[in-house]
């Protein structure tokens, strides 16, 4: 998962990783906390399988790239290959002191990656009814590409989201699953 500090990548990637554990996989997840996260570029690598050694994904070996911000998708191209499934969120966050946002990123992504889903956040938010649940809805979409059981996802969401928000998050997750059909 890639994006910008403050977009909720740590929590979202925690949910995927724990779901992988509950789905009886070996799991490793790597990310960085600290100064670079004050509005900077953020990434989280998640790896699972029978046995995982490196928490860092080798170059060109990403299977699914979930990007929460348009241009951040391009920053991590060395990790993907032409078969990588890209979940590309059309959210733009200008870096400080940058006024011209790079154009046509979505077209380039769809041209280079046959396996890409372009997500309009406003349309997802309409369906979930709350922009707060965008990431959870995206996880619902991610879940359609993975073989984790519903129970694994449910337990992981339950274990990770703030008290009192589980039902709403689960609903957003379910809504997110249906996004696969729209794309």
């Amino acid at each position: 998962m890639v994006g910008v500090g403050g977009q909720g990548i740590v929590l979202a990637s925690d949910i995927i990783s724990l779901a992988a554990l509950y789905a009886r996989h070996d799991v490793k997840k790597s990310e960085i906390h600290g100064m670079s996260q004050r509005g900077g570029s953020v990434f989280s690598h998640i790896r699972f399988g029978k046995k995982v050694y490196s928490p860092v994904i080798p170059e060109g070996e990403v299977d699914i790239l979930v990007s929460l911000e348009e241009m951040e998708t391009l920053r991590w191209l060395s990790y993907v290959n032409s078969d990588t499934k890209i979940i590309f969120t059309k959210t733009r966050i200008n870096p400080p002191n940058v006024t011209m946002y790079p154009q046509n990123i979505d077209q380039e992504i769809t041209n280079h990656f046959g396996n890409s889903w372009v997500i309009e956040p406003s349309r997802v938010n309409e369906k979930t009814g709350n922009a707060k649940f965008l990431n959870t809805a995206l996880l619902g979409l991610v879940s359609t590409c993975l073989d984790f059981s519903d129970e694994a996802w449910r337990r992981s969401i339950h274990g990770n989201v703030p008290d009192g928000t589980f039902e709403a998050n689960l609903a957003a997750f379910t809504t997110g699953k249906s996004l696969a059909k729209d794309n």
Partner: protein
């Protein structure tokens, strides 16, 4: 969480669990990325363990020495540069030894994700003559705390547990274990020959230290922490820590000697392993600590001749260095994207003061914290940043060297936690030596950079209980700063800050301005909790 539970923990969370399982009862530290979450996790999840944010790492380690001598199994946490601050007690703690197991966690930050240098803390193990363990994942991070406690008590020595950012902040699978209870009786017992390091006693203790390290070196050959995974004998690696994971990823069929204890090293095991393998590579981030030792015992290996001594490694770097293969072709899209450097948050209380300092065109000696980002545009208002507290002291050196030509245009800028950590001594030095500098304390009520830890200025303990908070005005009075050279200002009031800075820069003598404004992240959290 119970024994046998399968958990997904960061290295730091695993160390916290290891502390609990080892019956460690006292934990101290100073926040510093990537070490901070150890103490936070212990405080939140293992509430019967005493924890404190100490004023700085030296203090944390000394409190730890005292706790150990009184029989408590003790853990002290810090980042690599914090170990420099704690180095003074470290070297002598090696002489006096321990009573309850004493473990110091030093978290290095190769690639400097959130640090001012990428020093290799393994040198401290050699220099202070202390054993050092290095885990490769969270399971080992937990287990090695236990190993460290037992080694500490067996060999009467503090033990350093070294992690790096990728160990501390990666989550991997951990099986929760039982809690074993400490057999050590609590209570301080006099032993002046061992605890009072006057030269006559210290000479004897030094000999004991040398004996201990020789014994540990011998024992390390059979420790389960160090293991040989014999496979392909044409290609082998000697490695430790996160590099073990990378090596296994890049070369699943190679032989590996994995060192869990990186000091002292198992010479016989190394000799035996190297005699069986045709090509041995030493894989270690930063300095050639393992490589230099192995070469010093007369074994020829490859290491820094092919691997870099800067930054982090990953499986690709290791693979390419060994195979000399070029990087695989990846998808290329030719849209230029701007960098996204970190920046002060929107609404951050430090923003105004840096805008004003930029406008005034003064030299700013800076310090360690979020506010170091004042160096970047649009503020461009920082000219030095070295270590905790150095803003106040470097400003003094500039004034001294410039002498008569000094234009009273240097401002030292330091955060509240950093001021408590190492700023107060520098301020006292300025007063004592009659300097004419202006010091600005940016008080945002928290240790923001590392994730909002309370400190001696914020009036709360680690458990958010009320406690004393240092009174800046009284401190200024006590060290001899005249009242007219002291101002308390509001971080969101431009005029107040600018008047204070320009007014006091023009004055002779030492001046202190406190710019107070709660961290915007804390403001937001408070608002949120008010609603709920």
């Amino acid at each position: 969480m119970k024994t046998g539970d399968i958990l997904l923990l960061s290295g730091n969370e695993a160390i916290a669990r290891g502390a609990w399982e080892s019956d460690i009862s006292v934990c101290t530290g100073y926040p510093g990325t990537p070490s901070t979450e150890i103490l936070e996790t212990i405080t939140a999840d293992y509430r019967d363990i005493y924890t404190e944010w100490s004023v700085n790492e030296k203090v944390a380690f000394e409190v730890g020495i005292g706790a150990s001598l009184a029989g408590a199994r003790t853990l002290v946490t810090m980042k690599h540069v914090g170990l420099n601050v704690a180095a003074d007690p470290l070297f002598t703690a090696s002489y006096i030894g321990i009573k309850g197991g004493l473990v110091l966690v030093a978290a290095d930050d190769p690639a400097m994700h959130s640090s001012q240098n990428e020093q290799d803390s393994r040198h401290y193990a050699v220099a202070a003559k202390l054993p050092m363990l290095e885990p490769s994942d969270s399971q080992e991070a937990k287990d090695f705390v236990k190993e460290a406690v037992l080694l500490s008590e067996k060999y009467d020595t503090p033990v350093i547990l070294r992690t790096t950012t990728r160990i501390s902040h990666s989550k991997t699978v951990v099986e929760a274990g039982d809690r074993s209870s400490s057999p050590i009786a609590k209570g301080f017992v006099k032993n002046i020959q061992k605890y009072v390091m006057i030269p006559a006693f210290a000479r004897k203790r030094h000999a004991e230290v040398e004996k201990r390290m020789t014994q540990m070196g011998k024992a390390s050959n059979t420790l389960s922490l160090n293991r040989i995974e014999l496979a392909d004998i044409s290609l082998g690696f000697i490695t430790s820590g996160i590099c073990y994971a990378y090596v296994r990823e890049a070369f699943p069929n190679a032989s590996v000697l994995k060192l869990g204890m990186v000091y002292p090293m198992p010479d016989d095991l190394i000799r035996d392993y190297c005699s069986k393998i045709r090509n041995v590579y030493i894989v270690e981030e930063l300095d050639p600590h393992i490589e230099s030792h192995i070469k010093s015992i007369g074994i020829s290996v490859q290491g820094k001749n092919v691997f870099p001594n800067v930054g982090e490694f990953d499986p690709d770097i290791i693979k390419r260095a060994v195979t000399k293969e070029p990087p695989a072709k990846t998808v290329s899209i030719t849209i230029n994207i701007p960098n996204r450097p970190p920046s002060l948050c929107p609404g951050c209380p430090h923003r105004k003061v840096f805008s004003i300092l930029h406008k005034l065109g003064v030299y700013v000696t800076g310090d360690i914290g979020c506010y170091t980002l004042g160096v970047l545009p649009p503020f461009s208002a920082m000219d030095t940043c070295v270590d905790m507290g150095a803003s106040i002291t470097i400003a003094q050196g500039i004034e001294v060297a410039e002498g008569k030509n000094h234009k009273q245009n240097v401002v030292a800028v330091i955060g509240d936690s950093t001021f408590a950590h190492s700023g107060i001594t520098g301020l006292l030095n300025a007063a004592y030596n009659q300097r004419n500098i202006l010091v600005i304390i940016l008080d945002n009520g928290t240790t923001a950079m590392t994730g909002m830890q309370p400190n001696p200025l914020s009036g709360e303990t680690i458990r958010r209980n009320p406690t004393v908070s240092l009174d800046y005005r009284k401190l200024a009075q006590a060290i001899g700063i005249p009242d007219e050279n002291f101002r308390m200002t509001d971080a969101y009031n431009d005029k107040e800050i600018e008047d204070a800075v320009t007014g006091l820069l023009a004055k002779k003598g030492l001046s202190l301005v406190v710019v107070k404004g709660l961290c915007v992240i804390v403001q937001k959290r408070k608002k949120k909790s008010d609603h709920v």
